[in-house]
């Protein structure tokens, strides 16, 4: 192992070793917060490592890549893991959930995401995605005090296993055609454009359907509202921001390598259309806030599928930008919900009435996140949607782009419903909610990123390069 290899693998090593140290320390000390602190430090350390460029010129022998896109996403996943850990610390203490396994599993999940991000072979790519999903199997059911969390965990486990089977079978078929697990070669042979191999088409069908489950694209979306509703709020933030981002990265690692991705235009066209319509229309009638955000998540993945329909460089760039933006926005939204739920807020829209006065900080962050999801400038949500629709119009998909813009307009209604519940329904003042310093720091950074990404997208776009 050369110095370059070590340098490239350092974030992965830090996350893995951090998870192991967290487990060991948890076994020795009876104090839960030491585990959380070690986990937060290793996640932040891994994020700092990825920010530094590796020495150029030498080729890694490990089969891990470290382009600017890879490093950007790896540091995003690490920072998100650190933020979720900060939010979980207070949330779990309040909920009476103890155990060092929880922070260790968050680190392991981030490890899976980072492995996925730096993969150059289909094997590592799949295993990274699996490791991440595996972590979420545990985290989704991690609320030991609630009976319903078993049901949620089982639902996620079955759907996750099914989608992994689809993915593995698709990758196997693609491998059988290309004869190589290296992503570049596999994509060049199976998406060649000129001659279509029937086995390769079957492989891509399986792969896309498996990814539709992971991204909760219609018609593989039904698990999303139930799982979002039943999971602890910080885990939902990680699930919505991190796992969706990583799954998108999975596609963004594969598709730009293709010689001609025109074959995939049709499936993405239908995924985009159905997800945008069904996601947004279902959210209109929803009264539980997390289910509402789950349907909104389905709709947002529809917008990203729209960017993938374009299939051009600008389309991929827009999709990658949206993955980052959506990650930060969901962190802010579900982080604020976590803070409110820790202070005794219920799950329905009625419980959120008058929260604007009781908890002005968390309500402000939630409002900003909802504005961003609705696509109101100057937030990252607006810039992301602008990039996606620009790329789609440029590629000539006029009909789909117009339907997309109409659904965005419809979606503003249900986001504003939540905001009006927060501020325009004053209930009797009881007491002010408490926020810890950690929560304030995390939510402030997330909100600042939502605005800054929206105002200055050029710096981020310069980092998102695809071959």
């Amino acid at each position: 192992m050369m110095a370059t290899d070590f340098w490239i693998a350092l974030p992965l090593l830090l996350l893995a070793v951090g998870a192991l140290v967290t487990l060991v320390v948890g076994a020795i000390s009876r104090n839960d917060s030491s585990g959380y602190i070690i986990a937060i430090i290793s996640a932040l350390g891994a994020a700092c490592c990825t920010l530094q460029a590796p020495p150029v010129g030498m080729v890694s022998t490990l089969g891990l890549s470290s382009t600017s896109t890879v490093r950007l996403f790896t540091s995003l996943f690490c920072l998100m893991a650190a933020a979720v850990l900060v939010l979980s610390k207070e949330y779990n203490k309040h909920g009476g959930n103890r155990g060092e396994e929880y922070p260790a599993t968050i680190l392991f999940t981030a490890f899976g995401m980072a492995a996925l991000a730096s993969a150059t072979s289909l094997l590592t790519l799949f295993l990274g995605l699996e490791a991440m999903t595996f972590g979420f199997y545990i985290l989704v059911a991690s609320d030991l005090k609630r009976e319903a969390s078993v049901e949620t965990g089982l639902k996620y486990l079955l759907i996750g296993a099914l989608s992994s089977a689809f993915l593995a079978f698709g990758i196997a078929l693609i491998y059988s055609v290309s004869g190589s697990l290296a992503i570049t070669q596999a994509m060049q042979t199976t998406l060649a454009g000129s001659s279509v191999n029937p086995v390769a088409v079957a492989g891509w069908c399986f792969l896309l359907f498996g990814m539709a489950f992971k991204l909760s694209l219609v018609p593989a979306h039904l698990w999303t509202p139930d799982v979002y509703d039943g999971t602890p709020a910080p885990v939902t933030a990680f699930l919505s921001g991190g796992s969706k981002g990583a799954s998108l990265l999975f596609l963004l690692i594969l598709l730009p390598q293709a010689a001609d991705a025109g074959m995939l235009r049709l499936p993405f066209w239908w995924f985009a259309l159905l997800s945008m319509l069904i996601g947004n229309l279902s959210a209109l009638r929803e009264n539980r806030i997390r289910r509402l955000l789950a349907y909104s998540s389905i709709a947002h993945m529809g917008y990203v599928a729209l960017a993938l329909v374009a299939g051009s460089f600008s389309g991929y760039q827009a999709a990658a930008y949206y993955a980052v933006a959506y990650g930060v926005i969901s962190l802010a939204a579900f982080g604020a919900i976590a803070v409110m739920e820790r202070n005794g807020c219920g799950a329905t829209l009625d419980d959120y009435r008058g929260r604007g006065a009781r908890n002005p900080f968390a309500s402000g962050v939630l409002t900003l996140a909802l504005f961003a999801l609705a696509g109101i400038p100057p937030t990252a949500g607006f810039t992301g949607k602008f990039l996606i629709f620009a790329a789609t119009l440029k590629s000539g998909e006029m009909t789909l782009a117009i339907i997309g813009m109409l659904t965005v307009a419809v979606s503003i209604y249900y986001y504003l419903r939540v905001i009006s519940a927060l501020y325009f329904n004053t209930s009797e003042q009881t007491h002010q909610d408490q926020c810890t310093i950690g929560e304030v720091v995390v939510l402030s950074i997330a909100s600042a990123s939502v605005v800054l990404l929206g105002l200055f997208p050029a710096r981020l776009l310069a980092l998102l390069t695809f071959p």
Binding site: A9, L12, A16, A19, L23, L62, G63, L64, G96, R98, G99, E101, Y102, A104, T105, F108, F111, G112, A115, S121, L123, T124, L127, G128, E130, A131, F134, G135, Y137, I138, A141, S142, L144, K145, V150, G153, P198, V199, A202
Partner: protein
């Protein structure tokens, strides 16, 4: 693999083993008694292992026997005995409508297979023998990172089982 034996014998062996695999698997699915089903499954795995051996992959044949026929079957037996599932008279056979999706899928697979066979995709007639050393070098050098990811995954399978198993005992 068998350079000393004639190709006719190899072909005959292949057809016998393939028939054993298919018949044993069908019995493993349709058998009511779980312990009998497991014995049929083991038979199918052994035949499959011999097939792999004929395909010049002795290592996979060994894995098939050690891991599938050995370890996983023992695990199945443990679960059946622990949960006391050996009372088939209490369970009903699945009805026609439960069989239908499986039959449809099997039909679709057969049709796809037929189409592929009629297109005559060429299969290399002589495959080189892969030694254990080659597999080990490939596994731990080229795919070393993958091995590490899998080992982390197995560790966290245990951690997760331990954590979620504490439900209700806190």
């Amino acid at each position: 693999m068998c350079e000393d034996c004639c190709p006719d014998m190899e072909q005959t062996l292949f057809y016998i083993l393939a028939a054993v695999t298919v018949v044993a698997t069908v019995f493993a699915i349709s058998e009511k008694h779980p312990v009998h089903a497991i014995v049929y499954l083991v038979t199918s795995f052994f035949a499959l292992a011999a097939l792999f051996y004929l395909l010049a992959a002795p290592l996979i044949a060994m894995f098939e026997v050690i891991i599938y026929a050995g370890a996983i079957m023992v695990l199945f037996m443990f679960v059946i005995m622990m949960l006391d599932l050996g009372h088939p008279e209490n369970s009903a056979r699945p009805g026609f409508w439960q069989w239908l999706p499986a039959l449809l899928l099997a039909g679709a697979t057969l049709v796809a297979l037929g189409i592929l066979m009629s297109n005559r995709i060429s299969i290399p007639d002589k495959a080189a023998v892969v030694s254990i050393r080659d597999v080990a070098v490939m596994l731990f050098q080229k795919y070393g990172v993958a091995i590490e990811i899998i080992s982390m995954q197995l560790l966290f399978a245990a951690v997760g089982a331990f954590y979620l198993g504490r439900r209700g005992k806190q």
